[in-house]
């Protein structure tokens, strides 16, 4: 049948179904295919917080959202253009985010009485006209796969499990994407079970052909390839990227990598990844708690590893005392905090930017620690590497902030050529005449000698250290000197971080200032507004302590500064106290990152209203 082929720039498609329906697979396959095809992609999985919620319930819905397009794809999409809903609950839960006029691809078999009841529908939305504002593509996928696989050796249960593959095939057809990527993946996964492989391929193709053959469907879409820099690409989550960043840094530092960690949502995958790369000599200890996690990492750092610990807010809270020790010891250590919504246990699976205060200020005594933040999933690689670089060069613990959103979301990552990554090899002191607290005059980093080095036996610890010798000192003037050294060392890192990179006007009326995972939404909004001819500038901070040396000057060049944060204004307060400058806050504390339209609206509002 002939269909009208419509060329579009982007689409947001959400695969939603029951936890057992394989929606995560649909989503990852769709995004891999579109990325490999050459489009820009950004995704976000949305699991239920229950491990295995009862079938068909509202809180048991599992979804995966994919945003693809030919440019400016920095978020998983604010609103849904296409919803694949495998049952009633998944429709109920997601519909509010579908744009009016959007496409609903529904599995009719998921809207029988029992499912409707679980979804708390009074009547069947597929027949009660409540979906009139949408294009509904209503397929009895369950019946289809039964039909397709009737003759095979697959059990009815197995057959039913291929529903998602049908939906996937249909989606490929709808967006003119090839089946090859998924075929390859199925081959790999079921290579040893050809019957299952064949069955899946049959269903995949049937889904594809269903689109081709259906009389009801008059359109299909096409999105051009994006203009991507040449290179090798892969999809990656923030948590995996952070883990790889640490491994890369250790390799580049010629040091063994150590991770002392305790599982916690949404940071656990860092531990999973690092415990799974033993042929990279990654040594890990799943500790009895977060304190032992960081303490063991401190021990390994002292002994000469590139050492790290990964956690989320409640765990960072428990590491506070040991962080102070790391400051006093002046040893390299990377702490990755994948932030989640607090306070306390809060909303463990939701994201938030509210650990910044804790990261910067959360120590007793004067105990400065550099704090940096990743801006996107793949940037977690870059920033984990950078945290390691700073830690080794300045002999200091470094806190890397990512968040639940970055940790779980994926985007294509242009994999760096490892030979281009800088060398991080530290210089261990091995000569006689070692003074543990003698400092490099440029960096103020102290000299590092590790156990095993003959003749350099020395003692360090948490009591105040005497300048140069590192002996315990109760001398009050020495204490003040050391307090200043520690502060100056961290402050001095400003010399070593890139100056502010302002997008848009270099001075002017309105600067949007941000950090962390808000990047995607703001970048999208910024591009859109610029295309509309709006005058605004955007500065995204990746270094939060110390702040870039030129930030004060930059801020003064703008009349108004808007600072969106997923907290009550933590960075805003820091900027205010440092530069005595007025900041307009835009805060959202709803466990999700910004939507780009929220930023757009806010900026438009400010641009219209004019000066404050």
């Amino acid at each position: 049948m002939d269909k009208k082929l419509i060329s579009i720039d982007e689409v947001t498609i959400r695969f939603a179904g029951d936890s057992g329906d394989g929606m995560q697979l649909c989503g990852t396959q769709f995004s891999d295919t579109s990325a490999a095809f050459g489009q820009e992609v950004n995704t976000f999985p949305d699991y239920p917080s229950e491990i295995r919620a009862p079938e068909g319930t509202l809180y048991g819905v599992s979804a995966y959202q994919v945003h693809v397009g030919n440019r400016n794809i920095n978020t998983p999409g604010d609103r849904i253009d296409v919803l694949v809903a495998m049952n009633a609950s998944s429709l109920k839960v997601s519909l509010k985010n579908v744009i009016k006029g959007g496409i609903l691809i529904v599995n009719r078999a998921g809207f029988v009485e029992k499912q409707l009841k679980l979804a708390k529908y009074e009547s069947n939305p597929l027949v009660d006209n409540s979906l009139n504002e949408y294009s509904v593509i209503d397929i009895d996928i369950t019946a289809k796969v039964q039909e397709i696989l009737k003759g095979t050796t697959l059990t009815p249960k197995h057959i039913s499990r291929t529903k998602n593959i049908f939906a996937l095939g249909f989606s490929y057809w709808l967006y003119s994407l090839p089946l090859a990527q998924t075929e390859k993946w199925l081959q790999k996964k079921f290579g040893k079970k050809p019957a299952i492989f064949e069955a899946n391929m049959m269903v995949l193709k049937a889904g594809y052909e269903y689109g081709e053959n259906s009389e009801d469907i008059k359109y299909r879409y096409k999105i051009n390839k994006a203009d991507l820099a040449p290179g090798n690409y892969r999809n990656i989550t923030g948590n995996e990227a952070a883990a790889l960043g640490l491994i890369a840094a250790a390799q580049k530092a010629n040091l063994p990598l150590f991770l002392g960690s305790y599982p916690i949502t949404p940071a656990t995958e860092i531990l999973h990844h690092l415990s799974g790369h033993k042929n990279f000599s990654v040594v890990h200890l799943q500790a009895e708690d977060e304190i032992a996690g960081i303490a063991s990492a401190i021990g390994a750092a002292y002994a000469g590893s590139l050492s790290s610990t990964s956690t989320s807010g409640p765990g960072l809270a428990l590491k506070v005392e040991a962080l102070g020790l790391a400051v006093m010891l002046e040893i390299p250590l990377v702490i990755v905090d994948v932030m989640r919504a607090g306070p306390s246990t809060g909303l463990p699976t939701k994201t938030e930017q509210s650990d910044l205060n804790l990261a910067i200020y959360g120590r007793h005594g004067e105990a400065p620690i550099p704090v940096i933040a990743a801006q996107s999933a793949s940037d977690c690689f870059q920033m984990a590497f950078e945290a390691s670089r700073i830690a080794l060069k300045y002999m200091t613990p470094v806190i890397l902030l990512t968040d639940g959103y970055l940790g779980q979301s994926t985007e294509p990552w242009r994999v760096p050529d490892v030979s281009t990554l800088p060398d991080l090899t530290p210089v261990f002191h091995t000569e006689k005449g070692y003074q543990p607290y003698h400092r490099n005059p440029d960096t103020l980093a102290r000299d590092w000698a590790i156990p095993g080095t003959p003749g350099l036996e020395h003692r360090i610890g948490g009591l105040e250290k005497e300048d140069l010798t590192g002996n315990v000192s109760h001398d009050t003037a020495n204490h003040e000197k050391m307090v200043h050294y520690r502060q100056d060392k961290v402050d001095g890192i400003t010399q070593d971080i890139p100056p502010c990179e302002i997008l848009g006007e270099q001075e002017g009326d309105l600067l949007v200032l941000a950090w962390g995972s808000s990047y995607g939404a703001i970048k999208t909004a910024y591009e859109k507004l610029r295309e509309e001819g709006k005058k605004l500038s955007y500065l995204h901070l990746k270094y939060l302590n110390p702040l870039p040396a030129d930030l004060g000057d930059v801020l003064k060049r703008f009349k108004r500064i808007l600072l969106p944060e997923i907290n009550l204004g933590q960075l805003a307060n820091i900027i205010r106290s440092k530069y005595l400058i007025n900041i307009e806050q835009f805060n959202k504390v709803q466990g999700t990152t910004f939507k780009s339209y929220e930023i757009e609206e806010k900026v438009n509002e400010m641009l219209e209203k004019g000066g404050n």
Binding site: A229, I247, N254, G293
Partner: protein, 350 residues
């Protein structure tokens, strides 16, 4: 990959090890009170380490906070005076990342069993090869006299002015309950036995826990005197020696026999019992270790000391490095570029 760490390790092999105790004395003044049990514990450590044949630079002493935890300052090896209660996980990080180091922990009853209790039980569980010297003075000394988890019920301290009402830990029992593989007890006053236990601890593969009854002259003076005073020691203690019967008493005229599984004190002069009736110690028997541990706070039985248990179990640090070597054998040494590319990458061409 030959790392810098490896290079440093190589350097140390050249070092001579004809040490005397003096080689292990650091420059720092020892600042314990005159009469503190710590002095003897320290002196024996210096003596024993000199004889172990381990290059000084391979030895690391880690401690927490407390009078006892000042120990590393006085030893001329690598020393790490950390924070209260965390010596063991720090030591674990050192040992797991650098298994070739000889890692020791000096700690107190408060540091190890109060704030550090969780790390204690987990270190023993993992059986990481660390030698723990726990100065048990049954009090918090550095903070000037509060009850510790090993303080006696009824003990008067600044926080238990009407007598302590917390039941007392039995450190040996707790260590055994945690799966400890080497569990021993000695006294600050028993110089030879302390030396013997240090040597045993050093030789043991896995976590070695040595409880040392330590006199604090200021805040809990003489609390162990019945076990350490020349006059009473022989009657109030019994030495555990592998393969030997449990004999004690000034004239070696008493012994411990088992009545079923209950230890009872018997006289060897009563015409009824002979040495053959006595319980023979076996360090390899975990059940026996518990039975002996349970004698600890008995008023009628002598206090056992020596090695309660010395058994072999897998060690975390050894196994993780075995897994690493194994994986390298199977998969080849990690290729960073391949790792970053992952299984599912694609190329975008110009």
């Amino acid at each position: 990959m030959v790392t810098l760490v490896d290079n440093i390790n190589d350097m140390s092999i050249a070092t001579g090890t004809n040490y005397t105790a003096k080689d292990f004395k650091s420059d720092a003044d020892v600042r314990w009170c005159a009469g503190c049990g710590g002095y003897s514990i320290l002196a024996q450590a210096q003596r024993v380490l000199a004889g172990l044949g381990i290059p000084k630079e391979r030895i690391v002493f880690v401690s927490g906070i407390g009078c006892s935890s000042r120990f590393p300052y006085y030893m001329d090896v690598y020393g790490f005076h950390s924070i209260h209660g965390r010596a063991l996980p720090i030591a674990s990080g050192i040992k797991v990342s650098r298994p070739e180091l000889s890692v020791w922990v000096a700690t107190g009853d408060g540091d190890c069993m109060s704030i550090g209790g969780n790390h204690f039980i987990h270190t023993l569980r993992r059986n990481i090869d660390i030698n723990i010297l726990m100065f048990n003075n049954e009090v918090y000394a550095l903070t000037k006299g509060q009850a510790s988890p090993t303080s006696k019920v009824g003990q008067i301290t600044k926080t238990t002015q009407l007598g302590s009402i917390d039941n007392q830990f039995n450190p040996v029992g707790l260590a055994l309950g945690s799966g400890g593989t080497f569990v021993a007890r000695t006294f600050d006053a028993d110089v030879k036995h302390m030396q013997y236990l240090y040597e045993r601890a050093a030789a043991h593969k896995g976590t070695a826990f040595v409880e040392i009854y330590t006199n604090c002259v200021v805040f809990n003076d003489s609390t162990f005197s019945e076990f350490t005073d020349r006059e009473t020691k022989k009657e109030r203690t019994v030495l555990l020696e592998h393969g030997k019967p449990l004999i004690y008493g000034v004239n070696n005229d008493k012994g411990i026999k088992l009545d079923g599984f209950t230890p009872v004190a018997v006289s060897l002069d009563d015409g009824i019992h002979s040495v053959d009736d006595l319980l023979v110690h076996n360090e390899k028997d975990s059940t026996l270790a518990f039975i002996l541990a349970n004698m600890t706070y008995s008023d009628t039985l002598p206090r056992p000391y020596g090695v309660f248990q010395a058994i072999d179990k897998p060690r975390y640090e050894e196994n993780i490095h075995l897994q690493i070597q194994d994986q390298i054998k199977i998969k080849g040494e990690g290729n960073l570029q391949k790792l970053l590319l992952g299984d599912e990458y694609w190329e975008i061409k110009n």
